[in-house]
Protein backbone atom coordinates (compact mmCIF):
# COMPACT_ATOMS: atom_id res chain seq x y z
CA UNK A 1 0.00 0.00 0.00
CA UNK A 2 2.65 2.49 1.10
CA UNK A 3 4.77 1.40 -1.81
CA UNK A 4 1.90 2.04 -4.21
CA UNK A 5 1.34 5.52 -2.81
CA UNK A 6 5.00 6.34 -3.00
CA UNK A 7 5.46 5.20 -6.54
CA UNK A 8 2.42 7.21 -7.68
CA UNK A 9 2.81 10.19 -5.42
CA UNK A 10 2.91 12.78 -8.22
CA UNK A 11 -0.29 11.53 -9.76
CA UNK A 12 -1.99 11.48 -6.38
CA UNK A 13 -1.00 15.09 -5.77
CA UNK A 14 -2.29 16.02 -9.21
CA UNK A 15 -5.64 14.31 -8.64
CA UNK A 16 -6.21 15.98 -5.30
CA UNK A 17 -5.25 19.39 -6.65
CA UNK A 18 -7.54 18.95 -9.64
CA UNK A 19 -10.46 18.05 -7.39
CA UNK A 20 -9.98 21.34 -5.57
CA UNK A 21 -9.51 23.30 -8.77
CA UNK A 22 -12.72 21.81 -10.18
CA UNK A 23 -14.68 22.80 -7.11
CA UNK A 24 -13.21 26.31 -7.04
CA UNK A 25 -13.90 26.89 -10.72
CA UNK A 26 -17.58 26.13 -10.42
CA UNK A 27 -18.40 27.88 -7.19
CA UNK A 28 -20.91 30.71 -7.46
CA UNK A 29 -22.14 29.96 -10.94
CA UNK A 30 -25.35 31.83 -11.79
CA UNK A 31 -28.11 29.29 -12.45
CA UNK A 32 -28.48 30.79 -15.91
CA UNK A 33 -25.26 29.08 -16.86
CA UNK A 34 -25.89 25.64 -15.40
CA UNK A 35 -26.94 24.08 -18.67
CA UNK A 36 -24.17 25.52 -20.87
CA UNK A 37 -21.62 24.76 -18.18
CA UNK A 38 -22.75 21.16 -17.93
CA UNK A 39 -22.60 20.92 -21.67
CA UNK A 40 -19.12 22.47 -21.78
CA UNK A 41 -17.86 20.08 -19.11
CA UNK A 42 -19.45 17.29 -21.13
CA UNK A 43 -17.32 18.27 -24.11
CA UNK A 44 -14.16 18.46 -21.99
CA UNK A 45 -14.45 14.89 -20.74
CA UNK A 46 -14.43 13.98 -24.39
CA UNK A 47 -10.67 14.07 -23.85
CA UNK A 48 -11.17 10.31 -23.49
CA UNK A 49 -10.84 10.41 -27.30
CA UNK A 50 -7.07 10.45 -26.77
CA UNK A 51 -7.29 6.99 -25.25
CA UNK A 52 -9.39 5.90 -28.22
CA UNK A 53 -6.78 7.23 -30.66
CA UNK A 54 -4.06 5.37 -28.77
CA UNK A 55 -5.87 2.01 -28.86
CA UNK A 56 -6.78 2.57 -32.50
CA UNK A 57 -3.23 3.54 -33.39
CA UNK A 58 -1.73 0.53 -31.62
CA UNK A 59 -4.34 -1.93 -32.86
CA UNK A 60 -2.92 -5.08 -34.45
CA UNK A 61 -5.81 -7.53 -34.40
CA UNK A 62 -9.13 -7.18 -36.17
CA UNK A 63 -11.27 -7.00 -33.00
CA UNK A 64 -9.00 -4.30 -31.56
CA UNK A 65 -9.23 -2.39 -34.83
CA UNK A 66 -13.02 -2.54 -34.87
CA UNK A 67 -13.42 -1.60 -31.22
CA UNK A 68 -10.83 1.15 -31.58
CA UNK A 69 -12.54 2.54 -34.64
CA UNK A 70 -15.91 2.63 -32.89
CA UNK A 71 -14.27 4.23 -29.85
CA UNK A 72 -12.73 6.96 -32.02
CA UNK A 73 -16.13 7.71 -33.61
CA UNK A 74 -17.90 7.82 -30.24
CA UNK A 75 -15.20 9.96 -28.66
CA UNK A 76 -15.27 12.39 -31.57
CA UNK A 77 -19.05 12.62 -31.31
CA UNK A 78 -18.65 13.53 -27.65
CA UNK A 79 -16.02 16.18 -28.34
CA UNK A 80 -17.38 17.80 -31.50
CA UNK A 81 -21.05 17.50 -30.61
CA UNK A 82 -20.36 18.74 -27.09
CA UNK A 83 -18.49 21.86 -28.13
CA UNK A 84 -20.88 22.72 -30.97
CA UNK A 85 -23.97 22.35 -28.78
CA UNK A 86 -22.39 24.48 -26.06
CA UNK A 87 -21.45 27.15 -28.56
CA UNK A 88 -24.99 27.19 -29.92
CA UNK A 89 -26.40 27.68 -26.44
CA UNK A 90 -23.97 30.46 -25.60
CA UNK A 91 -24.43 32.18 -28.92
CA UNK A 92 -27.96 32.97 -27.78
CA UNK A 93 -26.77 34.84 -24.75
CA UNK A 94 -24.59 37.12 -26.77
CA UNK A 95 -26.96 38.67 -29.27
CA UNK A 96 -28.27 41.60 -27.27
CA UNK A 97 -26.84 42.94 -24.07
Amino acid sequence: MLEFINSNIQIIYLVILMIFVGVELIEKVPSVLHTPLMSGANAIHGVVIIGAIIIMGEAETMPATILGFIAVILGTLNVVGGFVVTDRMLEMFKKKK
Binding site: F4, I11, L14, V15, M18, I19, F20, V21, G22, V23, L25, I26, S31, V32, L33, H34, T35, P36, L37, M38, G40, A41, N42, A43, I44, H45, G46, V47, V48, I50, G51, A52, I53, I55, M56, G57, E58, A59, P63, F69, I70, I73, L74, G75, T76, L77, N78, V79, G81, G82, F83, V84, V85, T86, D87, R88, L90, M92, F93, K95
Partner: protein, 466 residues
Amino acid sequence: MQSDILQLIYLIGAVSFMVGLKMLSKPNTARQGNLIAAFGMTIAIIGTIFLYDGIKVSNYGWIFGGLVIGSILGTISAKKVKMTQMPEMVSLFNGMGGACAMLISAVEFNHLVAGNPIDALPKGPLLIIMLGLIIGSISFVGSLVAYGKLSGKVGDKSLKLQQVVNIGLLLLILGIAGYAIMFGPQQTETLFYAVWVLSVLYGILFVMPIGGADMPVVISLLNSFTGVAAAMGGFLYDNKVMLVGGILVGSAGTLLTLVMCKAMNRSLVNVLIGNFGGNSGEASTSPSGGTIREINAGDTAILLKYASKVVIVPGYGLAVAQAQHVCHELEDLLEKEGVSVKYAIHPVAGRMPGHMNVLLAESNVSYDKLIEMENINPEFNTTDVVLVVGANDVVNPAAKNDKSSPIYGMPILEVENAKNIIVMKRSMKAGYAGIENELFYQPKTSMLFGDAKATLAKLVTEVKSL
Protein backbone atom coordinates in the same frame (compact mmCIF):
# COMPACT_ATOMS: atom_id res chain seq x y z
CA MET B 1 12.13 14.87 -28.73
CA GLN B 2 8.75 13.96 -30.16
CA SER B 3 7.35 12.90 -26.84
CA ASP B 4 8.82 16.01 -25.19
CA ILE B 5 6.85 18.21 -27.59
CA LEU B 6 3.78 16.07 -26.96
CA GLN B 7 4.08 16.60 -23.20
CA LEU B 8 4.23 20.36 -23.80
CA ILE B 9 1.12 20.16 -25.99
CA TYR B 10 -0.66 18.18 -23.28
CA LEU B 11 0.31 20.85 -20.75
CA ILE B 12 -1.20 23.57 -22.92
CA GLY B 13 -4.28 21.42 -23.41
CA ALA B 14 -4.71 20.85 -19.67
CA VAL B 15 -4.32 24.56 -18.89
CA SER B 16 -6.81 25.46 -21.61
CA PHE B 17 -9.37 23.15 -19.99
CA MET B 18 -8.96 24.92 -16.66
CA VAL B 19 -9.13 28.40 -18.19
CA GLY B 20 -12.03 27.36 -20.41
CA LEU B 21 -14.04 25.98 -17.53
CA LYS B 22 -13.36 29.06 -15.47
CA MET B 23 -14.55 31.34 -18.26
CA LEU B 24 -17.59 29.15 -18.87
CA SER B 25 -18.83 29.96 -15.41
CA LYS B 26 -19.24 33.69 -16.17
CA PRO B 27 -21.91 34.95 -18.58
CA ASN B 28 -19.79 37.42 -20.52
CA THR B 29 -16.78 35.14 -21.06
CA ALA B 30 -18.62 31.85 -21.43
CA ARG B 31 -18.46 31.62 -25.18
CA GLN B 32 -14.75 32.32 -25.44
CA GLY B 33 -14.21 29.83 -22.63
CA ASN B 34 -15.86 27.12 -24.67
CA LEU B 35 -13.69 27.97 -27.67
CA ILE B 36 -10.52 27.92 -25.60
CA ALA B 37 -11.35 24.47 -24.26
CA ALA B 38 -12.13 23.33 -27.82
CA PHE B 39 -8.76 24.66 -28.97
CA GLY B 40 -6.97 22.76 -26.20
CA MET B 41 -8.79 19.61 -27.20
CA THR B 42 -7.90 20.03 -30.86
CA ILE B 43 -4.16 20.38 -30.28
CA ALA B 44 -4.19 17.47 -27.83
CA ILE B 45 -5.87 15.26 -30.45
CA ILE B 46 -3.58 16.31 -33.30
CA GLY B 47 -0.53 16.01 -31.06
CA THR B 48 -1.50 12.47 -30.06
CA ILE B 49 -2.01 11.34 -33.63
CA PHE B 50 1.33 12.56 -34.90
CA LEU B 51 3.61 12.48 -31.89
CA TYR B 52 2.45 9.63 -29.64
CA ASP B 53 4.95 6.81 -29.56
CA GLY B 54 3.36 3.60 -30.79
CA ILE B 55 0.73 4.92 -33.19
CA LYS B 56 1.17 2.98 -36.39
CA VAL B 57 1.10 4.97 -39.58
CA SER B 58 -0.81 2.09 -41.18
CA ASN B 59 -3.67 2.85 -38.82
CA TYR B 60 -3.90 6.53 -39.76
CA GLY B 61 -6.69 5.75 -42.19
CA TRP B 62 -8.84 4.29 -39.44
CA ILE B 63 -8.10 7.16 -37.08
CA PHE B 64 -8.91 9.88 -39.57
CA GLY B 65 -11.91 7.93 -40.82
CA GLY B 66 -13.29 7.76 -37.30
CA LEU B 67 -12.56 11.42 -36.65
CA VAL B 68 -14.26 12.50 -39.86
CA ILE B 69 -17.34 10.33 -39.34
CA GLY B 70 -17.65 11.44 -35.72
CA SER B 71 -17.18 15.11 -36.58
CA ILE B 72 -19.77 15.08 -39.33
CA LEU B 73 -22.36 13.21 -37.28
CA GLY B 74 -21.62 15.32 -34.21
CA THR B 75 -21.84 18.64 -36.01
CA ILE B 76 -25.01 17.77 -37.87
CA SER B 77 -26.85 16.50 -34.82
CA ALA B 78 -25.65 19.39 -32.68
CA LYS B 79 -26.71 21.94 -35.29
CA LYS B 80 -30.05 20.38 -36.10
CA VAL B 81 -31.28 19.80 -32.59
CA LYS B 82 -34.05 22.10 -31.42
CA MET B 83 -33.27 24.30 -28.47
CA THR B 84 -35.97 22.59 -26.44
CA GLN B 85 -34.26 19.25 -26.96
CA MET B 86 -30.88 20.45 -25.78
CA PRO B 87 -30.90 18.43 -22.53
CA GLU B 88 -31.47 15.17 -24.41
CA MET B 89 -28.66 15.97 -26.79
CA VAL B 90 -26.19 16.66 -23.98
CA SER B 91 -27.17 13.36 -22.42
CA LEU B 92 -26.60 11.51 -25.67
CA PHE B 93 -23.14 13.02 -26.20
CA ASN B 94 -22.29 12.19 -22.61
CA GLY B 95 -23.27 8.58 -23.25
CA MET B 96 -20.93 8.46 -26.26
CA GLY B 97 -18.03 9.51 -24.02
CA GLY B 98 -18.94 6.82 -21.51
CA ALA B 99 -19.10 4.20 -24.25
CA CYS B 100 -15.71 5.33 -25.50
CA ALA B 101 -14.18 4.84 -22.03
CA MET B 102 -15.86 1.45 -21.80
CA LEU B 103 -14.38 0.27 -25.11
CA ILE B 104 -10.92 1.50 -24.15
CA SER B 105 -11.12 -0.65 -21.02
CA ALA B 106 -12.22 -3.67 -23.05
CA VAL B 107 -9.33 -3.35 -25.49
CA GLU B 108 -6.76 -2.66 -22.80
CA PHE B 109 -7.96 -5.68 -20.83
CA ASN B 110 -7.23 -7.86 -23.83
CA HIS B 111 -3.76 -6.32 -24.12
CA LEU B 112 -3.20 -7.07 -20.48
CA VAL B 113 -4.32 -10.68 -20.86
CA ALA B 114 -2.19 -11.12 -23.97
CA GLY B 115 0.93 -9.83 -22.24
CA ASN B 116 0.70 -11.64 -18.90
CA PRO B 117 -0.23 -15.04 -17.47
CA ILE B 118 -3.93 -14.91 -16.62
CA ASP B 119 -3.43 -15.60 -12.92
CA ALA B 120 -0.76 -12.93 -12.52
CA LEU B 121 -2.20 -9.84 -14.15
CA PRO B 122 -0.66 -6.67 -12.69
CA LYS B 123 -3.08 -5.43 -10.05
CA GLY B 124 -2.74 -1.67 -10.62
CA PRO B 125 -3.64 -1.58 -14.32
CA LEU B 126 -6.35 -4.20 -13.79
CA LEU B 127 -7.94 -2.05 -11.09
CA ILE B 128 -7.93 0.99 -13.36
CA ILE B 129 -9.30 -0.97 -16.31
CA MET B 130 -12.07 -2.43 -14.16
CA LEU B 131 -13.05 0.99 -12.80
CA GLY B 132 -13.04 2.50 -16.30
CA LEU B 133 -15.23 -0.36 -17.50
CA ILE B 134 -17.74 -0.09 -14.65
CA ILE B 135 -18.05 3.70 -14.62
CA GLY B 136 -17.98 4.01 -18.41
CA SER B 137 -20.71 1.37 -18.85
CA ILE B 138 -22.98 2.90 -16.22
CA SER B 139 -22.53 6.33 -17.74
CA PHE B 140 -23.14 5.05 -21.27
CA VAL B 141 -26.31 3.09 -20.57
CA GLY B 142 -27.59 5.52 -17.94
CA SER B 143 -27.28 8.42 -20.37
CA LEU B 144 -29.19 6.53 -23.04
CA VAL B 145 -32.02 5.84 -20.57
CA ALA B 146 -32.00 9.51 -19.53
CA TYR B 147 -32.13 10.48 -23.19
CA GLY B 148 -35.09 8.16 -23.71
CA LYS B 149 -36.90 9.61 -20.72
CA LEU B 150 -36.41 13.22 -21.74
CA SER B 151 -37.58 12.59 -25.27
CA GLY B 152 -40.58 10.70 -23.93
CA LYS B 153 -39.59 7.32 -25.38
CA VAL B 154 -39.06 5.72 -21.99
CA GLY B 155 -41.44 6.05 -19.07
CA ASP B 156 -40.73 6.08 -15.35
CA LYS B 157 -40.68 2.54 -14.10
CA SER B 158 -39.60 1.10 -10.83
CA LEU B 159 -39.50 -2.41 -9.46
CA LYS B 160 -40.54 -3.38 -6.00
CA LEU B 161 -37.61 -2.93 -3.65
CA GLN B 162 -35.79 -1.19 -6.47
CA GLN B 163 -33.30 0.47 -4.14
CA VAL B 164 -32.44 -2.83 -2.47
CA VAL B 165 -31.93 -4.48 -5.84
CA ASN B 166 -29.76 -1.59 -7.01
CA ILE B 167 -27.52 -1.59 -3.97
CA GLY B 168 -27.26 -5.37 -4.10
CA LEU B 169 -26.28 -5.26 -7.76
CA LEU B 170 -23.68 -2.57 -7.18
CA LEU B 171 -22.14 -4.56 -4.32
CA LEU B 172 -22.10 -7.66 -6.53
CA ILE B 173 -20.27 -5.75 -9.28
CA LEU B 174 -17.70 -4.36 -6.89
CA GLY B 175 -17.35 -7.77 -5.20
CA ILE B 176 -16.64 -9.62 -8.45
CA ALA B 177 -14.25 -6.93 -9.68
CA GLY B 178 -12.46 -6.84 -6.30
CA TYR B 179 -12.15 -10.63 -6.22
CA ALA B 180 -10.70 -10.74 -9.73
CA ILE B 181 -8.18 -8.03 -8.94
CA MET B 182 -7.08 -9.29 -5.53
CA PHE B 183 -6.83 -13.00 -6.20
CA GLY B 184 -6.29 -13.19 -9.96
CA PRO B 185 -8.17 -16.44 -10.49
CA GLN B 186 -8.03 -18.49 -13.71
CA GLN B 187 -11.52 -17.26 -14.59
CA THR B 188 -10.53 -13.58 -14.58
CA GLU B 189 -11.58 -13.21 -18.19
CA THR B 190 -15.08 -14.56 -17.52
CA LEU B 191 -15.36 -12.37 -14.46
CA PHE B 192 -14.38 -9.33 -16.50
CA TYR B 193 -17.23 -9.90 -18.93
CA ALA B 194 -19.62 -10.60 -16.07
CA VAL B 195 -18.71 -7.24 -14.55
CA TRP B 196 -19.34 -5.61 -17.92
CA VAL B 197 -22.81 -7.14 -18.33
CA LEU B 198 -23.80 -6.35 -14.75
CA SER B 199 -22.60 -2.76 -15.06
CA VAL B 200 -24.74 -2.26 -18.15
CA LEU B 201 -27.70 -3.68 -16.24
CA TYR B 202 -26.96 -1.42 -13.30
CA GLY B 203 -26.90 1.62 -15.59
CA ILE B 204 -30.47 0.84 -16.65
CA LEU B 205 -31.76 0.13 -13.16
CA PHE B 206 -30.02 3.19 -11.72
CA VAL B 207 -31.77 5.72 -13.96
CA MET B 208 -35.05 3.92 -14.63
CA PRO B 209 -36.90 4.78 -11.39
CA ILE B 210 -35.85 8.45 -11.31
CA GLY B 211 -38.56 10.87 -12.38
CA GLY B 212 -38.27 12.67 -15.71
CA ALA B 213 -38.22 16.03 -13.97
CA ASP B 214 -35.01 15.07 -12.20
CA MET B 215 -33.20 14.00 -15.35
CA PRO B 216 -31.06 17.18 -15.51
CA VAL B 217 -29.57 16.32 -12.15
CA VAL B 218 -28.99 12.75 -13.27
CA ILE B 219 -27.37 13.88 -16.52
CA SER B 220 -25.10 16.19 -14.58
CA LEU B 221 -24.16 13.31 -12.30
CA LEU B 222 -23.52 10.93 -15.21
CA ASN B 223 -21.49 13.70 -16.79
CA SER B 224 -19.14 13.69 -13.82
CA PHE B 225 -19.05 9.86 -13.98
CA THR B 226 -17.79 10.04 -17.55
CA GLY B 227 -15.20 12.54 -16.36
CA VAL B 228 -13.92 10.01 -13.85
CA ALA B 229 -13.97 7.27 -16.50
CA ALA B 230 -11.85 9.49 -18.76
CA ALA B 231 -9.45 10.08 -15.88
CA MET B 232 -9.00 6.29 -15.61
CA GLY B 233 -7.60 6.43 -19.12
CA GLY B 234 -5.26 9.11 -17.84
CA PHE B 235 -3.93 6.74 -15.16
CA LEU B 236 -3.64 3.90 -17.61
CA TYR B 237 -1.55 5.78 -20.16
CA ASP B 238 0.06 8.10 -17.64
CA ASN B 239 -1.50 10.83 -19.75
CA LYS B 240 -1.77 14.10 -17.87
CA VAL B 241 -4.23 15.86 -20.14
CA MET B 242 -6.74 13.02 -19.83
CA LEU B 243 -6.19 12.98 -16.12
CA VAL B 244 -6.65 16.73 -15.72
CA GLY B 245 -9.64 16.93 -18.06
CA GLY B 246 -11.33 13.92 -16.49
CA ILE B 247 -10.81 14.78 -12.85
CA LEU B 248 -11.72 18.41 -13.47
CA VAL B 249 -15.05 17.43 -14.99
CA GLY B 250 -15.53 14.77 -12.34
CA SER B 251 -15.19 17.23 -9.48
CA ALA B 252 -16.77 20.25 -11.15
CA GLY B 253 -19.62 18.05 -12.39
CA THR B 254 -20.26 16.66 -8.92
CA LEU B 255 -20.39 20.15 -7.46
CA LEU B 256 -22.65 21.33 -10.27
CA THR B 257 -24.97 18.41 -9.52
CA LEU B 258 -25.16 19.46 -5.88
CA VAL B 259 -25.76 23.11 -6.82
CA MET B 260 -28.62 22.04 -9.08
CA CYS B 261 -30.13 19.98 -6.28
CA LYS B 262 -29.85 22.97 -4.00
CA ALA B 263 -31.67 25.18 -6.50
CA MET B 264 -34.59 22.77 -6.19
CA ASN B 265 -34.13 22.53 -2.45
CA ARG B 266 -33.65 18.78 -2.56
CA SER B 267 -30.84 16.52 -1.53
CA LEU B 268 -29.03 14.35 -4.05
CA VAL B 269 -30.08 11.21 -2.17
CA ASN B 270 -33.67 12.37 -2.39
CA VAL B 271 -33.36 12.80 -6.14
CA LEU B 272 -31.70 9.43 -6.65
CA ILE B 273 -34.23 7.51 -4.62
CA GLY B 274 -36.78 9.31 -6.72
CA ASN B 275 -39.78 9.82 -4.47
CA PHE B 276 -41.49 12.31 -6.70
CA GLY B 277 -41.68 13.24 -10.30
CA GLY B 278 -42.78 9.70 -10.95
CA ASN B 279 -46.30 8.48 -10.49
CA SER B 280 -46.50 8.26 -6.73
CA GLY B 281 -49.89 7.44 -5.24
CA GLU B 282 -50.44 10.58 -3.19
CA ALA B 283 -50.76 12.57 -6.38
CA SER B 284 -53.70 14.88 -6.12
CA THR B 285 -54.65 16.51 -2.86
CA SER B 286 -56.97 19.05 -4.38
CA PRO B 287 -58.01 21.93 -2.16
CA SER B 288 -61.63 21.26 -1.37
CA GLY B 289 -64.39 23.40 -2.78
CA GLY B 290 -62.10 25.39 -5.03
CA THR B 291 -63.57 26.93 -8.13
CA ILE B 292 -61.62 28.33 -10.99
CA ARG B 293 -62.34 31.39 -13.04
CA GLU B 294 -61.82 31.31 -16.78
CA ILE B 295 -60.93 34.31 -18.85
CA ASN B 296 -60.85 34.75 -22.61
CA ALA B 297 -58.14 36.20 -24.79
CA GLY B 298 -60.03 39.47 -25.39
CA ASP B 299 -60.33 40.33 -21.71
CA THR B 300 -56.76 39.29 -21.08
CA ALA B 301 -55.59 41.61 -23.84
CA ILE B 302 -57.44 44.55 -22.25
CA LEU B 303 -55.95 43.75 -18.88
CA LEU B 304 -52.47 43.59 -20.35
CA LYS B 305 -52.73 46.72 -22.46
CA TYR B 306 -53.91 48.93 -19.64
CA ALA B 307 -51.47 47.56 -17.08
CA SER B 308 -48.37 49.53 -16.26
CA LYS B 309 -46.29 46.58 -15.21
CA VAL B 310 -46.51 43.02 -16.50
CA VAL B 311 -44.37 40.06 -15.49
CA ILE B 312 -44.28 36.96 -17.65
CA VAL B 313 -43.47 33.65 -15.96
CA PRO B 314 -42.37 31.20 -18.65
CA GLY B 315 -42.39 27.47 -17.97
CA TYR B 316 -41.96 24.20 -19.77
CA GLY B 317 -45.33 24.66 -21.47
CA LEU B 318 -43.88 27.61 -23.33
CA ALA B 319 -40.88 25.56 -24.34
CA VAL B 320 -42.80 22.57 -25.71
CA ALA B 321 -45.22 24.80 -27.58
CA GLN B 322 -42.21 26.61 -29.13
CA ALA B 323 -43.95 29.80 -28.07
CA GLN B 324 -40.86 31.84 -27.21
CA HIS B 325 -40.97 33.88 -30.43
CA VAL B 326 -44.62 34.89 -30.21
CA CYS B 327 -44.08 35.57 -26.51
CA HIS B 328 -41.36 38.05 -27.46
CA GLU B 329 -43.72 39.58 -30.03
CA LEU B 330 -46.33 40.17 -27.34
CA GLU B 331 -43.69 41.69 -25.09
CA ASP B 332 -42.56 44.06 -27.85
CA LEU B 333 -46.12 45.09 -28.56
CA LEU B 334 -46.86 45.84 -24.92
CA GLU B 335 -43.61 47.75 -24.51
CA LYS B 336 -44.62 49.95 -27.42
CA GLU B 337 -47.86 50.66 -25.58
CA GLY B 338 -45.80 51.85 -22.64
CA VAL B 339 -46.20 48.76 -20.49
CA SER B 340 -43.13 47.62 -18.61
CA VAL B 341 -42.62 43.91 -19.31
CA LYS B 342 -40.23 41.61 -17.49
CA TYR B 343 -39.65 37.89 -17.36
CA ALA B 344 -39.41 36.07 -14.05
CA ILE B 345 -37.02 33.16 -14.37
CA HIS B 346 -37.16 30.40 -11.81
CA PRO B 347 -33.82 28.59 -11.41
CA VAL B 348 -35.34 25.33 -12.62
CA ALA B 349 -37.86 26.72 -15.09
CA GLY B 350 -38.12 24.47 -18.11
CA ARG B 351 -36.45 21.16 -17.69
CA MET B 352 -32.98 22.27 -16.86
CA PRO B 353 -31.44 25.16 -14.98
CA GLY B 354 -30.82 27.98 -17.40
CA HIS B 355 -32.87 26.29 -20.10
CA MET B 356 -35.48 29.05 -20.17
CA ASN B 357 -32.85 31.75 -20.57
CA VAL B 358 -31.45 29.97 -23.57
CA LEU B 359 -34.88 29.65 -25.18
CA LEU B 360 -35.85 33.27 -24.63
CA ALA B 361 -32.46 34.55 -25.70
CA GLU B 362 -32.95 32.53 -28.89
CA SER B 363 -36.01 34.61 -29.71
CA ASN B 364 -34.13 37.86 -29.08
CA VAL B 365 -35.55 38.72 -25.68
CA SER B 366 -32.94 41.03 -24.25
CA TYR B 367 -30.85 39.68 -21.43
CA ASP B 368 -31.68 42.43 -18.93
CA LYS B 369 -35.40 41.61 -19.11
CA LEU B 370 -34.78 38.16 -17.68
CA ILE B 371 -34.94 38.63 -13.94
CA GLU B 372 -33.86 35.89 -11.58
CA MET B 373 -36.12 34.72 -8.81
CA GLU B 374 -34.54 36.53 -5.85
CA ASN B 375 -34.69 39.85 -7.66
CA ILE B 376 -38.19 39.61 -9.08
CA ASN B 377 -39.96 38.33 -5.98
CA PRO B 378 -40.05 41.70 -4.18
CA GLU B 379 -41.45 43.26 -7.36
CA PHE B 380 -44.65 41.23 -7.54
CA ASN B 381 -46.32 43.56 -5.01
CA THR B 382 -46.24 46.36 -7.55
CA THR B 383 -47.09 44.21 -10.56
CA ASP B 384 -50.47 44.63 -12.24
CA VAL B 385 -50.62 41.45 -14.25
CA VAL B 386 -48.61 38.26 -14.00
CA LEU B 387 -48.87 36.08 -17.06
CA VAL B 388 -47.92 32.49 -16.22
CA VAL B 389 -47.20 30.70 -19.48
CA GLY B 390 -47.11 26.94 -19.05
CA ALA B 391 -45.46 26.98 -15.64
CA ASN B 392 -46.95 25.25 -12.65
CA ASP B 393 -44.88 23.88 -9.79
CA VAL B 394 -42.57 26.91 -9.67
CA VAL B 395 -45.52 29.18 -8.79
CA ASN B 396 -47.27 26.80 -6.41
CA PRO B 397 -47.75 28.50 -3.02
CA ALA B 398 -47.91 25.05 -1.41
CA ALA B 399 -44.12 25.08 -1.51
CA LYS B 400 -44.32 27.82 1.12
CA ASN B 401 -47.50 27.02 3.05
CA ASP B 402 -48.12 23.32 2.98
CA LYS B 403 -45.70 21.24 5.01
CA SER B 404 -47.15 18.00 3.66
CA SER B 405 -46.55 18.98 0.05
CA PRO B 406 -43.76 17.09 -1.71
CA ILE B 407 -42.39 20.36 -3.02
CA TYR B 408 -42.48 22.04 0.40
CA GLY B 409 -39.37 24.13 0.84
CA MET B 410 -38.65 24.68 -2.84
CA PRO B 411 -38.19 28.39 -3.43
CA ILE B 412 -40.97 29.68 -5.70
CA LEU B 413 -41.93 32.78 -7.62
CA GLU B 414 -44.36 34.59 -5.36
CA VAL B 415 -46.79 35.55 -8.10
CA GLU B 416 -49.76 35.48 -5.71
CA ASN B 417 -48.68 38.94 -4.50
CA ALA B 418 -49.54 40.56 -7.81
CA LYS B 419 -52.88 42.27 -8.49
CA ASN B 420 -53.97 39.89 -11.26
CA ILE B 421 -52.67 36.50 -12.15
CA ILE B 422 -53.45 34.94 -15.49
CA VAL B 423 -52.43 31.33 -15.89
CA MET B 424 -52.12 30.01 -19.40
CA LYS B 425 -52.36 26.23 -19.43
CA ARG B 426 -53.61 23.56 -21.73
CA SER B 427 -55.77 21.94 -19.07
CA MET B 428 -56.11 21.64 -15.32
CA LYS B 429 -53.65 18.76 -15.38
CA ALA B 430 -51.07 18.79 -12.59
CA GLY B 431 -47.48 19.77 -13.25
CA TYR B 432 -44.42 17.58 -13.16
CA ALA B 433 -44.51 17.06 -9.41
CA GLY B 434 -48.01 15.65 -9.87
CA ILE B 435 -49.69 17.90 -7.34
CA GLU B 436 -52.54 20.36 -7.41
CA ASN B 437 -51.84 24.06 -7.44
CA GLU B 438 -53.95 26.13 -5.09
CA LEU B 439 -52.91 29.28 -6.91
CA PHE B 440 -55.40 28.38 -9.64
CA TYR B 441 -58.27 28.56 -7.15
CA GLN B 442 -57.42 31.94 -5.71
CA PRO B 443 -59.86 34.82 -6.42
CA LYS B 444 -57.17 36.93 -8.10
CA THR B 445 -56.31 34.14 -10.53
CA SER B 446 -57.91 33.61 -13.93
CA MET B 447 -57.28 30.65 -16.17
CA LEU B 448 -56.71 31.06 -19.89
CA PHE B 449 -56.85 27.59 -21.44
CA GLY B 450 -55.21 26.58 -24.68
CA ASP B 451 -51.90 25.81 -26.32
CA ALA B 452 -49.34 28.42 -25.28
CA LYS B 453 -48.34 29.36 -28.81
CA ALA B 454 -51.87 29.64 -30.19
CA THR B 455 -53.12 31.58 -27.19
CA LEU B 456 -50.21 34.01 -27.22
CA ALA B 457 -50.78 34.58 -30.93
CA LYS B 458 -54.42 35.31 -30.17
CA LEU B 459 -53.35 37.77 -27.49
CA VAL B 460 -51.06 39.53 -29.94
CA THR B 461 -53.95 39.99 -32.41
CA GLU B 462 -56.29 41.17 -29.68
CA VAL B 463 -53.83 43.70 -28.29
CA LYS B 464 -53.20 45.00 -31.81
CA SER B 465 -56.90 45.44 -32.50
CA LEU B 466 -57.61 47.36 -29.33
